[in-house]
């Protein structure tokens, strides 16, 4: 048990027991979101930075989440480096954290990241003292460049945001895991528990998901599933799986057979 409990996720010097990061968007109501986030076991929870609602009737999500989680602001909605930097700075001021999930979308239909802007923004933000977790394409070269610029992790997509199609290019993810030298957090496209397990079996350090839980028929149950899925995948990765073979190999011994 000791070996398992010492397997912490480390990002920028901070350690975490949970390898599941979860988002707060798209749930049917606040209570479902709060319960699902709790049940997921996640310690890092993503939020966006938005203009304050001036109506006194809405309950603020962040007040309800309280101090129970590490809130990670994202730069969702930013199309330029300038916007992303301002958002990161506002996030730092609002939450007292220098961590930022950097996302700069280059195409509205696919929501694929704009790699050029992403690299430029990462460079700037690292210089400004941020711990940058960039959401990026599943492209090894982009990931290596992000690492060179000082990103604390890389977050390649499995498939487009909200598509639920799982990991489109597992070999690419495996290469990124092998070569980048920083934690690789699979972010986007997870549809169900087995996708999250697969990501962990490929060697990812963690998984970030939102829609897979928020839009499931039963978000609370899916949150529990994802928690178990990430744990299962991580154990399997560390356990060293058997190779895949073309031919069968009997598992029961071939000696002492009745009738011989």
């Amino acid at each position: 048990m000791t070996a398992m409990s010492e397997d912490f996720l480390t990002i920028a010097g901070d350690t975490f027991a949970s390898r599941l990061l979860i988002g707060t968007a798209g749930y049917p109501n606040q209570q479902t979101m709060l319960d699902s986030v709790s049940l997921s076991g996640a310690e890092i929870v993503t939020v966006s930075i938005r203009r304050i609602s001036l109506d006194p009737y809405s309950e603020s999500m962040v007040d309800l989440l309280g101090d129970r989680f590490r809130l990670l602001p994202n730069t969702a909605g930013c199309a330029t480096v300038k916007d992303a930097i301002l958002t990161a700075e506002l996030g730092r001021e609002a939450l007292g954290t220098n961590w930022v999930k950097l996302e700069i979308i280059g195409d509205r239909e696919t929501l694929y990241p704009d790699a050029v802007q992403l690299l430029a923004a990462t460079e700037e933000l690292v210089k400004l003292g941020f711990i940058v977790l960039p959401y990026c394409n599943d492209d090894l070269v982009t990931c290596l460049k992000l690492v060179d610029l000082g990103a604390a992790a890389v977050m390649p997509l499995g498939s487009p945001i909200g598509s639920g199609r799982g990991i489109a290019n597992p070999i690419a993810i495996e290469q990124i895991v092998r070569r980048s030298g920083v934690p690789v957090i699979l972010d986007a496209g997870i549809g169900t528990a087995s996708d999250a397990t697969r990501a962990m079996e490929l060697g990812c350090a963690a998984v970030l998901l939102n829609t897979a839980v928020a839009k499931a028929d039963n978000p609370r149950l899916m949150a529990r599933a994802m928690r178990a899925a990430v744990e299962a995948g991580r154990h399997a990765f560390r356990a060293g799986r058997i190779p895949q073979k073309r031919h069968a190999e009997a598992s029961s011994p071939q000696l002492g057979l009745i009738g011989t």
Binding site: G26, I52, L54, S60, P73, A76, A79, L86, L90, G91
Partner: protein
């Protein structure tokens, strides 16, 4: 400012006032947690809200963490 319009609307300044006064005028408690303010694209830290003056024509962003993935 192109922070994507969120649940809140834009905040305008008519007469010079401190950030704290501006917030109060919009029924935002300046003591509220998790709040951040930027004037003309530059973050103004909480400690300066009672001294920093906002002027007519300034672009103000008042933000809080919200739902996000």
């Amino acid at each position: 400012m192109s922070l994507k319009p969120g649940p809140g609307g834009a905040i305008t300044v008519e007469v010079p006032e401190t950030i704290a006064a501006l917030l109060s005028r919009h029924a935002i408690d300046p003591g509220i947690r998790y709040l951040a303010v930027a004037v003309n694209g530059v973050v103004v830290r909480r400690a300066e809200w009672t001294t920093h003056m906002a002027r007519k024509g300034d672009t103000i962003e008042v933000v809080r963490p919200f739902q996000g993935g």
